[in-house]
Every structure is written in C-alpha cells, then in structure tokens.
C-alpha cells in the first residue's frame, strides 16, 4: 500500500525454517532433560544410555541393523497415520482427540475380518477404513447438528470403542493367553503382502507394502489439503464456518466429512500394523492405546505439515524403540517411556517457539491486533 519495503527478510522469518528450527529445539531440549534424568539416577551410565536411545537399531551389529530398522518402520506406519488423522482434522479447525478410539476401531474391524471372517487383507483394510470413517463421523454429526464439542465426545468415544473392541475380539482370542491369534496362524491371506520389500530389511516378516503406502497417503493428504477444491472447502469451513455458509458450502456436511476422513486415516493405520503380525491385540487392556495420543505429538512436532509428519513420526518411533534398550544399563524400563514422552510433550511447544521466532524485538504485542470482533 505504501510501497514495498526494501529491508531484507531474515532467514528465520521464513515459516518453514521457523517450524523446523522449533521442532529441532524441542528435540534437543527433550534429549537434554532425558540425559539429566539419566545422570541423576545412574551417572556412570548416562552417556551410554542416551546414546543407546539415539542409536536405536545402530546398537546392533551391521548384519542385524536392517531388520531392526525395518521393525521401527513398521511401527512408524500407524503413528504416521494417526498423526495424519490429527493433522487433517486440525487443518479444518477440529481437534481430533478421538484418534485413539478410531485407531482401536480400525484394529478391531481389521482383526475381526481377518481372524473371525477369514477375509483377504485388502478387504480387512477396507473394513477398517469404513468402520473408522463411521466411528469418526459420530463426533462430526454431534458437532454439526448439536454443537457438541468434539473433544468431549471424542474422549468418551475412545473408551466406548476400547471396551467394544475388547468384547468383539475376545471371540478370536487365543485361549492360551490374553492376546488374539496371530494372523499367520489363522488366515495368512489377511497378512499385508511384502512384495519382496522385506528382503531389503533382513527378511523381517513384518515389513510390508504398508510402509510405502503410508508415505503415499501422507503425500495424498498434503495434496488434498493444499491443491484440491475439497481441501479449499474444508479449510474454509474450519477457519470461518459463517463465511462457508454464506458462500453456499455445505458446512455441516464438511464437518462430518472431515471427521470421517480423520477416523478412516487412524483406523487404516491400526489395520496396517495389526495385519503384519507385528503385534496382537490384548483383549484385556484397560487403557486406550498411546498410539493415538502420540499421533497428536507427531502432528505438532512435524509442524502440522503432512510431509513434516513423516519425519517426526519416524523420529518419535525411533527414540521409543531405542529407549527400550536402556534397561540393559540398569535403568528402569519406564525410563525409555519417560525420555520419549518428554520429547513428545515438548512438541506442544513447537508452536510456542515459532511464536517467539516470528516476533520482532520491541513488538511484544504485535499479534494482538488479530483479535477482531466476531459478532
């Protein structure tokens, strides 16, 4: 308006640089605090402990490394999908805390189709998508028509989902334990195919096409949000429901569609883990799987960008796996969870650090002009 300003933009004022820097600061702070805790508990092993966490599969000899790298990737898949679910809803203005419940539904639907109904793997994946979408749309419907806060309904649905799936999967439980049967033992056709991919990872059986598929889906989410008409509509609805209504968008439908897509993503993630036999469902579990909540962390650590989430999801899974190894050094096994959760909780500060960086010195309240009258 008053002519272009010729001042050169600083490197740190570029948004993506800010996001990456903020994420890295969180990671470093988290590791530092983890290291301090290790120091307090057992000073002589602290350096080795933190390096074990960071090394993860590099702790093994070169021959076994690909296998363990593969295992980390397998578990990254559901985390990435959960973070996609959170991120997608967040971009449309919704906080999908129901991601854990949608993940549970995905696990239940896919495992029941695989073990109970003997269906092939792709039908099981499809079932997870359909039931995840239906489950996810419940908070959307409540929000659109009854203005129920999606956080409240999401949390409640998490518990309903958990016990529902525990009940259903008990029918396909291995009588010798608490877990469901392995897919391989009952219906090998329900295992997601590897198509030779596992030969690159020391023939690790759980490495399947789920890994590239998850990355493709993450890229697809990015494309959907930033390039398509649907993404434009959904984001507009999330940012200003009234404007969306004014220009004739079906704002209620858009909210429901968003939660359905988010639910489908999380449920698909669960199916992509359980249909590899990487782990079985424990039918007596009484807490909602942490995977969903870690998905929230991964989404934020990745700067709310689908491509960033690929890296942040991998990193979180990497240190989680690495953390499991410090028990050999005389630390409590919970220490690994502690370190990774510290980094995860610091993820919430990514936005905070970004805020600090985008502030100019001497312009402390520069953002307060944002608040306009909304009436």
């Amino acid at each position: 308006m008053q002519g272009k300003e010729n001042k050169k933009k600083s490197f740190f004022s570029i948004p993506w640089v800010q996001t990456i820097t903020a994420s890295l600061i969180c990671i470093l702070l988290g590791l530092l605090i983890g290291f301090i805790v290790l120091l307090i508990i057992k000073p002589e092993n602290a350096v080795e402990g933190i390096s074990k966490v960071l090394k993860n599969f590099w702790n093994y000899n070169a021959k076994r490394q690909p296998k363990y790298f593969g295992q980390t990737l397998v578990k990254t898949v559901p985390l990435l999908m959960c973070s996609m679910s959170v991120l997608f809803a967040y971009k449309v203005g919704l906080f999908n805390i129901g991601v854990a419940g949608q993940y549970v539904i995905g696990a239940g639907a896919s495992l029941y189709c695989a073990l109970g109904l003997g269906l092939p793997w792709w039908v099981c994946l499809l079932a997870a998508v359909v039931f995840g979408a239906l489950w996810g749309s419940i908070p959307g419907i409540l929000k659109a028509y009854r203005n129920v806060n999606e956080v409240i309904s999401g949390i409640m649905l998490n518990w309903i989902g958990l016990y529902l799936i525990n009940t259903i999967l008990t029918q396909v439980k291995n009588p010798t334990g608490k877990d469901t049967y392995t897919v391989a033992s009952q219906n090998p056709s329900a295992l997601i195919p590897s198509l030779g991919l596992n030969s690159w990872f020391g023939n690790e059986k759980t490495v399947t096409i789920a890994i590239p598929l998850a990355i493709i889906i993450a890229v697809a989410v990015w494309v959907l949000l930033s390039k398509t008409r649907l993404g434009y509509e959904l984001k507009a609805t999330g940012l200003n429901k009234n404007a969306a209504m004014y220009c004739g968008m079906r704002e209620k439908f858009n909210i429901i569609l968003t939660t359905a897509i988010a639910g489908a993503l999380a449920a698909l993630g669960a199916a992509m883990l359980f249909l590899t036999d990487s782990m079985q469902w424990e039918c007596t579990q009484s807490s909602v799987p942490a995977m969903g909540f870690n998905g929230i962390a991964a989404a934020f650590l990745g700067g709310l960008n689908p491509i960033g989430a690929i890296f942040s999801s991998y990193f979180i899974q990497h240190i989680t796996e690495g953390g499991a190894q410090v028990t050999t050094l005389g630390y409590f096994s919970q220490i690994s969870d502690f370190i990774s959760s510290f980094i995860i909780y610091l993820c919430a500060f990514v936005l905070f650090f970004r805020g600090i960086m985008s502030r100019k010195p001497g312009d402390r309240a520069g953002r307060s002009k944002k608040g306009g009258k909304q009436a």
Partner: protein, 508 residues
C-alpha cells in the same frame, strides 16, 4: 507543564511490505477534540495502536505532559490514563455488559467479585452521558450500537484522561451520532482530551477543534477545524478533489427481478418476528434502498433472502422463478450476489489469502477447478485482474492474508468479487460501512453502474446520505415491517427520520 496532553513525535512504524506510519507527528492539546483524518490504509489505526501500546514504533517518541514515556503494552497505556474504543470492538461475547466494563479492573471482596459498587458507577455514568445499556445483557445478544456504548463506558469507568475514538460513528444511527457528538463535547469541556479518528468530514467539522491529516502513511498537516471546509479537508486527505454527490442518470426500471411476498423471519432475540410479513419488488435497472435504524429487521430480512436464516413464512422469486426453498448455492448460482453486512463474519475467510477470498463464490466453476484440483494459475490471473480493476490495495498482492488488509480494501475485495459475478440481483448491505470518502465514491459508482447495466440492486443502509444519494426508491423498515415507500427526489431526510423512528407510517 506542557500544553499538550500527548505528543507523538516523528513516529515511524513498518510492516512487511508497508510503511504504515512514516515520520508522523501528532500533538493533542489538553481538553481539545482532535480529529485524525485519513483514508483507509492511511495509517490512522496503526498510529493509534502505537499510542495504545499494541505496536512499538521503530522510530520516534511519545511524550505525556512533556515527559517521554514508553508505552509497551495496553496496560501501560491504561496506567497513563489512555483509553480507546477500537474500530472492531474488544468485548467478550459471552459476558454481560457489566462484566465487560469491569473486566481487568474488577473490585473484589476477599476472593469474590463485588459488583454492586461497579454497577452503581456504571449506571451513573450511563445516565450522566446518556449511554443507554442493559448491564445484564450478553454482548452477543445486543446491537452493534449498544456494544459500542459498552466500549465507551468501559473507558469512562476507568477514569481515563485521554480518550481515543477509532471511527466511533461508523455503526451508529443519525440520532445516536448526534448524542455521541454531545457526549464528546461534554467530555472535552470536563478537561478530557479526545482523539477522534474518522473520515466523515461533517462530523469532524462539527465536533473537533483541530484536525490532523494522514495520507498513505505520511503526515500532511494539522489545521484548525473552524477555518476548514469539507472540500479543503477532503482535498488534504485524498490529494485531489472529491465529488460528494453520486452522479446518475434517471432510472428506467424494467421487469421485476426480485419479488418477495409476505416474508417473515423469526427473531433470535425475542419472541416476536424480526421480519413481519414483508412484501417488496425490485425491478431490473433500479436501486431500491431499505432504510431504517439498526436492529429493525434489515439484517434478518437479508439473511432470509439469501438463505442464511430459514423463513418463518412467505415466498421469494427471482426472475419469476420460485426460489423460496433454494439453497444458498442455488440462489447464488441463479444470479443473486450478496455484499454482506459483516465482512469479517460472512464476507471473508480472514486467514485465507486475498486470491482465495476472491474466488470464494465461484471456486467450484470449471475455470477454477479441474478434476477436483484447484487451477492455481487461473485463480491467480483472475485475482490479479480484479485487484487491478477494483484497485484493491494490499501488502503482497494476491497472496496477502485477508486479515492483514485494511477494512476498506477488504470491502473492495468483497465488492469486486460480488459485482464481477454479473448478478441479476445485487444485495448490498451497508456496503460503505467504515470506508473513507474515496472508497465510498468508488463503491457508489460501481453500484450505480450495475443499475445502469440493467441489474436489480437492493441496498440496505443506515446512512441517510447514502440512502438519499444512491437509491431510486426508498423503503423504510421499522420493527420488521415496511412502513413507507418514498421517492428520494421528493422526500426529505427529516421525513424519513420520522418513519424510521416509528412516529409515522403509511398503509402499505
């Protein structure tokens, strides 16, 4: 002691792509009403935000009573006795009027709020200055006018000495404006110093002692108001002479485009109908204006017409086609354009870029969407064309975030979007609210051009000058009903005022 209550000396404030204030000096004498005049985007609001501690200036200094002060936040400004009524109100929607007034300076008894003293003081102030409010009504339920009175009371409640009014009259009725002018004179007479930001020249001439003018971020000068005329001030503000009167040819109405019969819309605030049995026609090539005091059902009438609110009864037809039950999208595609009353609530997605806002009403058309993908190149070209054609100014062109644009340019973007669609019927609600003379002149020209191109125009306005100048036929709305129809050439503002206030009505 300095003769100035506040001095802002050589203030420079930069934003990305824009120098909002370039070496601006403003000196406010004690007990005077000092007007700050400038077009939208001239830097008035920025300058006031610097004074109020919302922004820090890169250069220059602020003095209070001759002493240099550093206003680092609104709290510091408050401590210095500076109060401000913002252009966009800063009220908590779900709190009551009283709660909003005492917010931040609550009186307490132990851990509990003690509101009875506060209520007495608020009621006393309210009575003393004629600022009528309902202290127990929630902000979201009251009219814009009452919201503003709440803002003014907020300032008075804090015993502020320096009062900043940022475009206070933009949302008031003529009577309310007169009352406000009287209040401001009272306040000045009591020794309070007032900064009055406006681009309504007649108000500045009426109420202020001196006037400082900004243009494109630069300080143009300060004049004594009694030595000035509307022409001289506007020339200073715009840098050229402005034509105040809308020039238009006589109207030649054609076929009926919009036909509304017995329309009723339920009210959210009370049990009565907000719009009660309204029937009207708008013909091609004429501008029909609905005049009335804010809150008499005009908003709800337009909501009902556009589909934002359901009808309680009645029918609407467009070009002979019944569209009573059509969706918003169907009406919009069918030739209805709508410049909404509240540009932030309905008109724009503030966090979207300018170009994404420009395609808000037609993003789904094949020229902008192919196989579900947005055609970014076509969108950019379209946005650039409209920006150029309608002179929408912004920091970074099509990719500017709408939120960072000035109000006038936000409005221009909406006007561009709605007119460019070549509608059969253009509904314009308060299209010039809060805009400067340059932009008003421009938007009026556009509306008249639409009429001359044979479109039907329905204008809803609270500004009587606008009503008289632009329209071909005037309908007055009072308490949800049409109480009179007038020809602007044969009626007077006073006559309209009587109908608007409910003192007279015609049998329709």
């Amino acid at each position: 002691m300095s003769e100035y209550a506040i001095e802002m000396l050589h203030i420079t404030k930069r934003f990305p792509g824009i120098i909002a204030n370039d070496d601006v000096t403003l000196q406010l004498r004690k007990g005077e009403i000092h007007a700050l005049l400038g077009e939208n985007g001239a830097g008035k609001s920025t300058l006031m935000s610097v004074l109020f501690g919302l922004y820090q200036a890169e250069e220059g200094e602020i003095r209070k009573d001759g002493k240099v002060v550093h206003i680092t936040s609104p709290n510091v400004a408050n401590d210095l006795g500076i109060g401000m009524v913002h252009q966009h109100f800063k009220l908590v929607e779900c709190f009551t009027v009283l709660d909003n007034i005492i917010l931040g300076v609550e009186t307490t008894k132990g851990p509990f709020l003690e509101k009875s003293e506060a209520r007495k003081k608020v009621m006393a102030l309210s009575e003393k200055y004629g600022l009528q409010v309902d202290p127990d009504a929630k902000i979201e339920d009251i009219t814009v006018g009452m919201q503003q009175r709440t803002e003014i009371l907020k300032m008075l409640y804090r015993d502020n000495e320096i009062l900043i009014f940022d475009e206070p009259t933009a949302v008031l009725t003529p009577q309310e404006i007169e009352e406000l002018m009287a209040i401001m004179k009272n306040l000045a007479a009591e020794g309070k110093s007032i900064l009055f930001i406006s681009h309504k020249l007649n108000e500045i001439l009426e109420v202020s002692d001196r006037c400082s003018v900004l243009r494109k971020g630069k300080y143009i000068g300060t004049v004594n108001t009694k030595d000035s005329t509307a022409e001289s001030l506007s020339a200073m503000m715009v840098g050229r002479n402005v034509n105040f009167h809308v020039e238009k040819q006589p109207c030649h109405p054609g076929d009926t485009v919009l036909s509304v019969r017995h329309m009723s819309v339920a009210s959210k605030a009370h049990k009565k109908m907000a719009v009660n049995d309204v029937s009207l026609d708008v013909r091609a090539g004429e501008i029909v204006c609905i005049a009335g005091i804010d809150g008499n059902g005009q908003t709800e009438f337009v909501y009902g017409l556009s589909g934002l609110e359901p009808l309680a009864g009645g029918t609407i037809s467009l070009n002979g086609k019944d569209i009573t039950k059509a969706s918003i999208r169907q009406k919009s595609v069918g030739g209805m354009s709508h410049i909404p009353e509240d540009r932030h609530k309905h008109g724009l997605v503030l966090d979207y870029s300018l170009e994404d806002n420009i395609i808000l009403q037609n993003y789904f058309e094949p020229r902008f969407t192919k196989h579900g993908f947005l055609r970014r190149k076509a969108i950019r070209e379209h946005a650039e064309k409209l920006i150029e054609q309608y002179d929408v100014r912004s920091g970074q062109g099509p990719i500017t975030t709408a939120r960072s644009m000035s109000g006038g340019n936000q409005q221009k973007a909406i006007v561009a979007r709605e007119i460019d669609r070549e509608p059969e019927l253009l509904i314009a609600v308060q299209p010039t609210r809060g805009l400067d003379v340059g932009a008003i002149e421009y938007i009026h020209k556009q509306i008249v051009a639409q009429r001359d191109a044979g479109k039907a125009v329905l204008l809803v306005s609270l500004e009587l000058d606008e009503v008289m100048d632009v329209s071909d036929r005037i309908l007055v709305m009072y308490e949800g009903e049409i109480v009179g129809e007038f020809d602007p050439k044969t009626t007077t503002v006073e006559e309209l005022g009587l109908y608007m206030a409910g003192a007279k009505r015609k049998e329709m």
